[in-house]
């Protein structure tokens, strides 16, 4: 690849790493500001000052904050996320399965939502201002306007309670056959799809409509291309950068914003895990999950940036 792209991409990645470090500092600092510390949390209210001091010495809590930060960061980099206080289990091990579950759900929701949103956006542009456009826009807007817990319960009511097609509680376990697993995640995936669909579809529509004003779209029409071919071949490629951006934002939401949906369907993913441990004030787990969510969010946005750079022919093929 040509040099300006390599330089820009390298810049974005470096910026992303820097940003992630900054976030890790914030997460660490945030948990330090809270009253009490791990020793107190472990020993509970009945702790004597001596036992507290002993435990602090043992856990290295008397070291200065920055040393503890680097110790924590060093652990994170090597895959050691610490131990959960509430259960005493290794965080990395318990997160692994749940992260996989969350990604599995997000993947299937995205696999349906992204192509659907883009196709609906293209159709809306093709029949812009007509009834098809208004119907698509209206339905998409309605599905976004409903809070996801409402959509979730409506889906449960119809598909799990009334017609009993899909389970209302998405229990998955290790070694579950693929087909059963798919059936289990059907309702939460549908709820997520409905939540993120409208945003992407409306952005696709707006970005393409913006391009439809261009002189080259008129050129394409004057070549005799059909309305849909004009949109697909000439408008869409030039609208791709803003579309990728909004798609990535929604993908990030599918991973880090699934908390509510996971709780509704009792799906053993990251969101559920986070909520459980927030209620238990399990600081190391909250730190670890927060950092993972931040990493997902930042990397998806970097991917969006890089995709937008690569989609620009001026950068891809310099003079």
């Amino acid at each position: 690849m040509s040099s300006p792209i390599v330089k820009l991409v390298a810049q974005r990645i470096a910026l992303g790493i820097l940003l992630l470090l900054a976030v890790s500092v914030l997460i660490f600092a945030g948990t330090q500001i809270l009253p009490g510390d791990v020793a107190q949390a472990i020993l509970g209210q009945s702790a004597t000052p001596e036992s507290l001091a002993n435990l602090r010495e043992q856990l290295g809590l008397n070291d200065p904050a920055f040393i503890r930060y680097f110790r924590w960061l060093g652990g994170v980099v090597t895959g050691d996320l610490g131990t959960a206080m509430s259960s005493g289990q290794d965080i990395a091990t318990s997160i692994k399965g749940r992260l996989w579950n969350t990604l599995f759900l997000a993947f299937w929701a995205a696999a349906v939502a992204v192509p659907l949103a883009i196709i609906l956006g293209l159709i809306a542009v093709r029949y812009r201002n007509g009834w098809v456009d208004k119907l698509i826009s209206g339905l998409a807007l309605a599905s976004t306007s409903f809070p996801e817990f409402f959509i979730g319960y409506v889906l449960v009511y119809f598909f799990a309670v009334k017609y009993q097609i899909f389970p209302g509680i998405s229990t998955v376990y290790d070694g579950m056959p693929f087909g059963e697993r798919m059936q289990a995640i059907m309702l939460p995936a549908a709820a997520l799809t409905l939540v993120v669909l409208a945003h992407m579809m409306r952005m696709t529509r707006a970005a393409i409509l913006n391009v439809m004003q261009s002189a080259y779209v008129e050129t394409a029409e004057l070549k005799g291309l059909s309305a849909f071919a004009v949109i697909r071949r000439h408008a869409f490629p030039n609208a791709i950068a803003p579309i990728i951006n909004v798609v990535m934002l929604n993908l990030a939401y599918l991973i880090v914003g699934v908390v509510v949906v996971e709780v509704i369907f009792v799906y053993p993913g990251m969101g559920q895990y986070l909520v459980d441990h927030v209620t238990k004030r399990d600081v190391p787990v909250v730190q670890a999950v927060g950092l993972i969510f931040a990493a997902v969010y930042i990397s998806l946005n970097i991917i969006a940036d890089i995709a937008a750079i690569i989609a620009n022919p001026r950068l891809r093929h310099p003079k």
Binding site: A215, E221, L222, G224, H317
Partner: protein, 551 residues
């Protein structure tokens, strides 16, 4: 027999064409306006008909009707468009799609905007041919390369691999012509194909288009507002105004013996008598050895430029795009602080940076721009726009300010009634007049005019130039007049600086600059200005000493 033959030679026969559009004036119910009033024309196979007129004359609208296309909600509401013996208006959407890009092709004004930035040129050039299935991809690409050669594009074998942004404007315009010719249409609609180009590039593109039309025997509708340009390529010329036919005749008749007064006005549009003023003894503004670059770039946009401006006189700065004309204006006004050199005003040096200049210095230098629409706040009335410098520089308020605004409106030959109008309610020429009034309101010593007539129709531009000359006499204001149009320069300049790639290559009094012997660049520039002579193009191409930079 003769009758049948005549009929079969006619390619396009437009009868009583009527085109309407719905406009939505603010605060009023939408209404229908008629853009084209019962215009008829015929075009024989292989002939070129020039459509000429000012903006709003309906030339593009008529041209596009040959493809059944209405731009921006424009509707064909009456008449017939008979192409190859059938009325295309009866064919419906399917019919239009079949003829667009097959029987009729289109060449747009700005090829730079009309090519899709996301696709390679070759894919776009052969797209219509492949769509209509008239050739295989290999055959179409071979044809395209042959056309690139015919249009004397550099590297015809490989230019198709490039993306639009990798090719210059003049070359893109020729690629677009190749694109139109590639599907071997019967008719091409050229919509101001050279208007956006530099004058030295225009002549090459014009010659290439003319040769291509001759060699491929394609018929053409050639739309332009420049009579001198259309005279070079057309067999016949049709003059339009406000959507009505003014005059239609052979090219020689139209430019030599126009029968209508309006045609006559178009033919003689550039004739403004302006007596050159001798430079005074001391210039009030001196630019000395200025060198400037954008950012930390090593490419110097201005190289060691020195010019003087005398009170009440006009210095014209001429050159093609990229020659540094506008950058010179930016350096003088302090928008782009020069790296070296000084600007002296009334005997003292001006601060390099705009932010370091006192208000009084700002007042003395005013600017008028090419695009009057974007130089005004669309949400302010004419009164507010002109009144702003009065408040800012002179602290005028209330009645005193309004009286001065009215006085200024009077000076630009617009009535008091315009005080409460918004820019959107004004015509292009009126907008530019308001900008002139705004700059005059500051009572400056110098107004920098950056291509102020380039976006206007010839007759309107003429009116603006006359107004500027008149105001110069009344107010004794000096102009730095930046333009690429040599005819304008001849009309209003006292001295001329010719710029080429950041340097002043020729500088002096107007009469001196425009008298031979010329340097190679000035010669190229002067010989590239279209003249209203049949056969000028061939003569000019033959007599050239250097190639233009845009190619």
């Amino acid at each position: 027999m003769a009758d049948i033959k005549a009929k079969s030679d006619i390619l396009l026969d437009i009868r009583n064409l009527r085109i309407e559009a719905t406009v939505y004036p603010p605060g009023e119910p939408p209404k229908n306006i008629t853009l084209v009033h019962d215009v008829s024309l015929t075009l024989e196979k292989g002939k070129v008909l020039g459509l000429i007129g000012e903006s709003g004359a309906g030339k593009s609208t008529i041209g596009l009707s040959a493809m059944g296309y209405g731009r921006g909600g424009v509707r064909i509401t009456g008449g017939e468009v008979i192409l190859n013996g059938r009325d295309i208006l009866k064919g419906g959407k399917e019919g239009f799609r079949k003829l667009r890009g097959r029987e009729v092709c289109y060449v747009a004004q700005s090829a730079a905007a009309a090519f899709n930035p996301a696709h390679r040129l070759m894919d776009q050039v052969v797209e219509a041919t492949l769509l209509h299935g008239t050739a295989t991809r290999a055959a179409a690409e071979k044809r395209a390369v042959a056309l690139f050669k015919k249009l004397s594009l550099p590297n015809p074998e490989s230019i198709g691999e490039r993306f639009p942004h990798q090719v210059s404007g003049g070359q893109l315009q020729r690629v677009m012509t190749a694109m139109a010719l590639c599907s071997e249409p019967d008719l091409i609609v050229f919509d101001e194909p050279t208007t956006a180009l530099d004058v030295t590039t225009q002549i090459d593109v014009l010659a290439a288009i003319k040769d291509a039309i001759r060699d491929t025997h394609v018929a053409a509708l050639y739309i332009t507002h420049d009579l001198a340009v259309v005279a070079q390529v057309s067999d016949e010329i049709m003059v339009l105004r406000h959507g009505r036919l003014v005059e239609w005749g052979g090219t020689r008749q139209i430019i030599k013996e126009p029968r209508q007064e309006y045609t006559n006005a178009l033919v003689s549009v550039h004739e403004i008598e302006h007596q050159e003023q001798k430079p005074g003894t001391t210039p009030f503004l001196s630019v000395k050895n200025i060198t400037a670059a954008y950012g930390r770039s090593h490419i110097k946009v201005l190289k060691n430029v020195s010019v003087d401006i005398f009170p009440g006189q006009t210095l014209a700065v001429v050159g093609e795009s990229g020659s540094g004309k506008s950058t010179l204006a930016r350096a003088i006004t302090g928008l782009l602080p020069p790296e070296e050199g000084t600007v002296t005003f009334d005997g003292r040096p001006l601060a390099n940076r705009l932010a370091d200049r006192p208000k009084e210095d700002l007042r003395q230098l005013q600017m008028i721009y090419q695009m009057a629409d974007v130089a005004m706040n669309p949400r302010q009335t004419v009164g507010t726009i002109i009144g702003r410098p009065l408040e800012f520089y002179f602290g005028m308020r209330g009645r005193q300010r309004d009286a001065r605004v009215a006085e200024l409106l009077d000076k630009i030959e617009m009535g008091k009634g315009f005080i409460d109008r918004y820019p959107a309610e004004l015509s292009g020429g009126q907008k530019q007049r308001v900008c002139i009034a705004r700059s005059l309101a500051a009572k400056p010593k110098l107004i920098i005019c950056d291509e102020v007539t380039s976006a206007l129709d010839p007759l309107v531009a003429n009116g603006i130039l006359k107004l500027l000359l008149e105001l110069q006499k009344e107010e004794n204001v000096a102009y730095l007049f930046i333009t690429h149009d040599l005819a304008t320069v001849k009309s209003i300049a006292d001295s001329i600086a010719v710029m080429y790639r950041g340097e002043v290559v020729r500088y002096g009094a107007k009469s001196q600059v425009l008298t031979p012997p010329f340097d190679a660049y000035t010669d190229l520039l002067l010989s590239s200005v279209p003249e209203m002579e049949i056969g000028w193009l061939e003569k000019a191409i033959k007599g050239r000493r250097m190639a233009s930079a845009g190619n």
